[in-house]
Symmetry: C2
């Protein structure tokens, strides 16, 4: 519990002015080798830690930090991106004093993504938060930002983009968790069905990785058992219903496990009821209203939360730290695979 030593004491001990101490601390130019070394020695010896309150007061008052958030438009049947936005707003509330300002931009397809990207680039933001939904367009944005030294944080999905900063859940691992959970419910003789509900944009990278993780769980945890796993890709624009093949699986007497790789698990229970199928356990993603309703009714056993608010929150905080303290560690984060059941719902 050594008492606070400040830049003033350092200056005194090293026989320099506080301005010089500051230059050394921030590794700025214009300090003679000799002086720098002397000051550095004192800094080390005293274990100096900067007073962030003072630093931020000064900084926040002078230079604003402007962050652009480019996310999918919230539509009637797709409210998910409200949540990262809530997290962003919370972070802005925390950091408003310290000069952080955010502007929102919305996209709905590759064209609008590119258009909004260009608007953002034109305004010279200090940092950008977005989601890498369109491979080419995202890459173009990242390259542009890399040239300008503008940090970018990508939420929700990890895609193959060299050197990019991701704040998202490891979808492969989430799939393995889903495997573990369903395996507990349906056992090694169970029949497993992976349901990819595909929307207009095609199969999402996250869904692919989740399915891979799910299958990897059974391959590594029960090697040689040859657990029966089927995949159903179903387009969301048609009313979901079942093919004869699926019908056959569902009539199977064994315990069944259904893994829905996106946030629409709630469509499944209705279909099962329609065909009087039972002994089915469902695991899905995301705490949307419909899924929660199913959890409460015990129609879904487990939901996996990817903590979208936290993603937004961490992205803004990470950018802030990077921009103010050159600390890049907060630009990436592995979001926990949070398991939700009916009983811990309101606590998670």
């Amino acid at each position: 519990m050594e008492e606070p030593v400040g830049i003033k004491q350092i200056a005194q001990m090293a026989n320099v002015s506080i301005g010089t101490v500051d230059r050394v601390l921030h590794r700025r130019e214009g300090v003679s080798r000799h002086t720098r070394e002397r000051v550095e020695a004192v800094i080390r010896k005293t274990g100096y830690k900067k007073n962030t309150a003072a630093s931020r007061l000064r900084l926040g008052a002078h230079k604003k930090i402007r962050i652009a958030v480019l996310i999918p438009e919230v539509t009637n049947n797709w409210g998910y991106w409200e949540l990262p936005k809530c997290g962003v707003e919370k972070a802005v509330e925390d950091l408003h004093d310290l000069g952080v300002r955010v502007s929102y931009y919305y996209f709905s397809d590759p064209v609008s993504f590119t258009k909004k990207s260009e608007q953002i680039l034109g305004k010279e933001f200090d940092g950008i938060v977005t989601a890498p939904f369109f491979a080419e367009e995202s890459k173009a944005l990242l390259e542009n930002c890399s040239d300008r030294n503008t940090p970018v944080v990508l939420l929700d999905t990890r895609v193959a983009l060299e050197g990019a900063n991701f704040i998202c859940q490891d979808a492969h691992r989430a799939g393995m968790v889903a495997g573990r959970l369903l395996y507990g419910l349906a056992g090694e003789n169970g029949l497993y069905i992976v349901v990819n509900l595909v929307n207009a944009g095609g199969l999402h990278e996250n869904n692919r990785q989740r399915e891979q993780g799910f299958r990897a769980f059974f391959d590594t945890d029960l090697p040689g058992k040859n657990v029966e796993i089927h995949t159903v890709d179903y387009p969301l624009d048609r009313p979901f219903d079942i093919s004869p093949e699926i019908g056959k699986w569902l009539k199977d007497k064994r315990a069944k496990g259904v893994f829905v790789t996106n946030s629409r698990a709630y469509v499944i229970p209705g279909i099962l009821r329609k065909y009087h199928v039972d002994n089915v356990h469902i695991v899905g993603f995301d705490l949307n209203r419909e899924n929660l309703e199913c959890l409460r009714n015990r129609d879904i056993f487990f939901l996996i939360n990817q903590k979208p608010e936290e993603q937004g929150y961490l992205a803004v905080r990470g950018l802030f730290r990077y921009l103010t303290e050159k600390d890049a560690s907060g630009l990436q984060a592995d979001i926990p695979v949070e398991i939700v059941v009916r009983e811990n719902l309101f606590t998670v």
Copy 2:
């Protein structure tokens, strides 16, 4: 994104000095009704929010906030309280600039608890963090603190203490979650065993509440099903082994669910192996080394984490907010019932 309005602007608009604005903001005495109302109107109109960086710079430099942490001694076979301490240390790191200082005190029984409590009271700390393990002694401490207006935060266990501040997991709910999880694994025809491993201090309040929650799950979720649940209280000082009655349950062919209400779930798998019992699913608490080992070996299916580091962290932050901003909301917290399996272990 309205631009920052500070106490200076408020003062100008209300035709008073900044000192007066400050008095109004902090509801301090010595402002005429008329002036106060005028200033309040301006504050409301402008939506003033205090700059916390400035406030804290000023405050932190002047008055230190001294917090005493009174927790169980860490022993060879009981390292749990390292974890809340880690959380406390993290909070202190975050808040050191802002004047927060912590001293640790350790107890091992009611006598040492009281002794250390008295030491703490003698030193006039600004706030106290402890654990309410001894009913009478805790009550005495709380009453003393209440007289002095010293805030106290209690970790780990919620006990019947009027008006106390708890930061802990809802043990009853955690028990319900355990019920849900084991029920998923062993089903309604399963045989369930609640294992209370009792140490020298007797059955802990948390264990009692967890068992109640576990039983409540079956009562409310499967009313009338009369699921078979047995309780085994076993003292930890003798080598754990099984009575003839327990032996009979274990030989039962049905799927079995074992709920260990404390952090010693890891003792169970060895016993099961010794008696060649299988088809048993185990749920326990806490991510200690031994339990994690069992999780990795697939001997334990689920662990429930009560996030001890977070408890310590939140306690210090909560006290800090209360002491600096009279905001008591952080003095209580309901810690999520976090579910851990082998596959999400390193992400939670």
